[in-house]
Amino acid sequence: MRKLAAQGPVPPAREGATDPVGRGLPQDSAWRHVAGTAVYVDDMPTYPNQLHVATGRATVARGRLTRLDLSRVRSAPGVVDVVCAADIPGNGDIAPVFDGDPLLADGELLYLGQPVFAVAATSFEAAQQAVTLAEIDCEPLEAIVALTAAVESEYYVLPPHEFCLREPEAALLAAPLSLGGELHMAGQEHFYLEGQVATAEPTEEGGVHVYSSSQHPSEVQKLVAGVLGLPIHAVQAEVRRMGGGFGGKESQAAMPACLAALFAVRTRRPVRHRLPRRDDMVQTGKRHPFWNRYRAGFDEQGRLHGVTMRLAGDCGCSPDLSQGIVDRAMFHADNAYNLQAARIQGVYCRTDKVSNTAFRGFGGPQGLITAEAMLDDVARRVGRDPLDVRLDNLYAEGDLTPYGQPIEESVLPDLMRQLADDCDYRARREAIARFNGENNDVRRGLALTPVKFGISFTAKHLNQAGALVHIYTDGSIHLNHGGTEMGQGLHTKVAQVVARALGVRFERILVSATRTDKVPNTSPTAASSGADMNGMAALNACNRIKRGLVAFAAEHFGCDEGEVVFADDRVGAGGDSLPFEAFIKLAYLARVSLSANGFYRTPVIDFDRDAAWGRPFYYFANGAACSQVRVSALTGEYRVERVDILHDVGDSLNPAIDLGQIEGGFVQGLGWLTTEELAWDDTGRLVSDSPANYKIPTAFDLPEAFNVRLFDRANHAETIYRSKAVGEPPLMLAVSSWCALRDACASFCDYRFNPRLDPPATPERVYWAIEEARAGGDR
């Protein structure tokens, strides 16, 4: 470069203040979203020699492949290449943790719909039409489809595991009162609007460049290299953005990426694999269904003395990420309550269905709702308002969780009382009692429930992150970090962190696509950790650049290093300062490094899984929600009338983005608990295989009144600018709506007991719950 740019065309600041942290800035891509110019993988231009992939599927839930005749497939119009398991040059198992997820079935068939072979053809339609021409013979074996059958026959993917605190069985025996219950809960389809997709382009070195819609580009890179039998450096994975992830693109994005890469290397042509919606719903994992049982011992006030639980997760046909998921259900089976003494058993069941996987909350919701169901049952038994029983059982500072982590920060007692006051819980409880006394066709229900969610990957090594920051000579800043953007606003938050760290206006910063050749060996963008970890890594990178800049500034301004200030888009000391870009230009000429990578690892955490004791979480995120519903006794139809939420995000990095995560997470949780009903038939075929028969919420389903506020308190843990993670916890606020529906049903038996209402509480299930309550049952 001969000449430095005179004036960088960096956009001007939108507002006066330069420090963007804590401001509700729109997402950096917001304008591109609304203009249709944001590019997703399938929007990338295709080449004239582009190929498209489709897969042929197993027709039985469990069995052996006895014959595979692909001759008609090979000769179909447009078909260029066909592969089956034997054609994979490297490792054909793309499992993330344990073995068991073959890219293409290798003799053994694991679920109905499993990819058995794949086709690359000159058009999407040609590929889809060709796969129907295969002749596949399968020898069926007896399949276990139902979770209850798997539990009963001890059909497991991993051995059971247990947490134990004190002596729960003795506590249960000694307690004045006790009860037991169970909950069967369904899974949940992610229904990211952008289905799974990847494009692979061969490189001149014999490797491949993969564009993937993935939450975990490093894993895509590693698995593609494994499938191809190449060193990792021969593969690059790139993620500009996803059209939604929700956990469904943590491990599941690997399949289309690996198949596209395999064909790309075989044919030396660019290859795209986009799963049509039905294939996506059939061939990718979902939230784990659970069958949970609980026994609680308690006193006449409903104070718990001891609890035992068995949480049985339906992992599907392989372990995938299920160890961490069932573990996290166990970590959240206490939710926010001091169980005093507890035995929490986790069972990792195998069923002959697609392997279940990560979904926002990662098992936490399935554990948490069990605690809430139990507390409601306890409240009915002792005849108290469930809110009072909840408040009486909340953790206090110093209490121990069933896995040995002490409670250091007890936010929920204040938070729940504040919410109850703000939303007139007591007055509405009375008004609803009056209303229900006067009405038989329509009844109302109310519930206020907390969420306490542990923040950190429970797999310790994943709690690390990297970032890369460049400052160019015109003062524009390029930011790259290991996290991926799936709509959660991560890129915007990390850019805000960098803007504050360098004292510059937000508009100087451009965040680029996540790439494995910029920041290597990254962790998935998951576990709500994206901003916590990548924000810290980016801050670390900024601080490393600043070290050189501060030394140079001290020299330039003739002051001590401690006097140098980066603020208001200027760098200065004492009364003297320069505009940021002018200072950067001088620094460059003085040969000061303007680029650094950054690294972060979460401190403190230390959990011994074998001993089931320790500190898995850096801190807890908290929130509470109060839901009011009405139900029709005629049909079981219902409406969520009003929801009030108070949620703890520490010192928010971006309140607008956090609000969006809370509202969106709530409605997604509401879908899981109300209308989203997955169904398989007895043969293991997914019956709910399209949006025509699997119903996620629409705009009509959000609460008629929806009041969401942030709980204003800094994180006690030393997180990035004292903020808290927000991705997953709000999903579990929707448990309040499920509890409110059950409350409304219980009004039909004068709250003597809670009728059975297994999630999802569809109108049909609400109807049967009302019928059970009306019948008055002996319980």
Binding site: G36, A38, D42, Q628, V667
Partner: protein, 471 residues
Amino acid sequence: MQLTVNGVPIDATGSAPSQTLLRFLRTRAGLPGTKEGCASGDCGACTVLLAGPGEAPRAVNSCITLLGSVAGETVVTVEGLAGSEGPGRHPVQAAMVDCHGSQCGFCTPGFVMSLAGLYAADGRGDDAIREAIAGNLCRCTGYRPILEAGRRMYDYPPAPVVPECGALAAGLNHSGALPAGYHRPRDEAALQRLLREYPKAWLVAGGTDAVLELTQRYAAPDPVLDLSAVAELCTIDDGTDALRLGAAVPYSRLEQLFATLSPPLVAMLERLGSRQIRNRGTLGGNLANGSPIADMPPVLLAWDATVELAGADGGRRSIPVAAFHRGYRDTVLAPGEYVAAVTIPRAALARPHRIFKLSKRFEDDISTVLLAVSMEREGERLGAARVAYGGMAATPLRAAAVEEILTGATLDDATIERACAAATAVFTPIDDVRASAAYRRAMAAALLRRALRELREGVDLDIDAVEALHA
């Protein structure tokens, strides 16, 4: 084959007319802003605006709209709405940004276009906004900020682009022949000629169900016979004795027609598919595909409607709707025959009636059970009663045993309970993905009880008829 896309006339002669409009836009037209989320008209990510000459723009699902069916029309995609940041942006886009209405952004173009359609019609108020976006799924935001954008979009300087699109289409060549394999006749004579020439032709009107054969099963029908422009089939004859509705009339026109004639029908239609579906889907299609869970047949049964069938040879016959369905997805339509019109007697329309749709999700969901009840009152006694159900049997069906109990009876509690017991007993529905047989049977009675009580007491027992609770 010409069409206008975002104000630019495009000669699409080289493109296959039986591909979807979405595929054409994303590949040939180089406009990937419109997304595919499901390829079945269920998610709305593919929403674009469409207008024929002199027509107001309407939102449609481009994923199940065939390219050949929009020849001569104007299409507006998200790219054409305004473009990028800065001057010229559409108020919907500005409001969506300011309200934080996008997160992952993938559904966003569809929401922008649905709201732009509402904006073009000057639709205001929360009900109108919800109705406009009922066919758009968002998995990230929880919808609150999108509703907010729908409210605030009128606060910005007005938009120039959309209202002109009908005028643009006027300049196109509409009469030009479509490429081989796709026929879009303009009158019944031409339609019948084509039916004689191609007895195996694949018939499509709005395509909201039929096109799923292409997008879900990858069928490649040849030739395609598109009914959507046949003038007689698009005609509504508002006669003194009866309403005659052309089979290719889309639901959105029925909503306007029945606004005063039957508020219960309009309330049901608002939950039939989505705005995009109702802008394309037709009454004739709802009958001809023979589904037992189609929403219109029970209503037509309760109204003693007749269906008019026409054949390739020009022959016509009228039969009661009750005689149209023969079995599961099976009708009396003979080869070469098509549904031409439906006739509803005015007298039937004037009778008190109730229509209740029950589904797992309130909006844009297929019915679990649908009930249509119509009855004459003769003082204290009932005259003839019609009770028709969808979702309870292999075909839409009248419950003769129930009608028998009601006809001539006094509508007291005992009669109601006897009728409800009969409604439960008379059907043997199935368990499926939407509901159990037991629930369907219980609902056959529950919906009937609600209808009879409402008709007797003049009350509204809908869950939404409850007073708001003020603590």
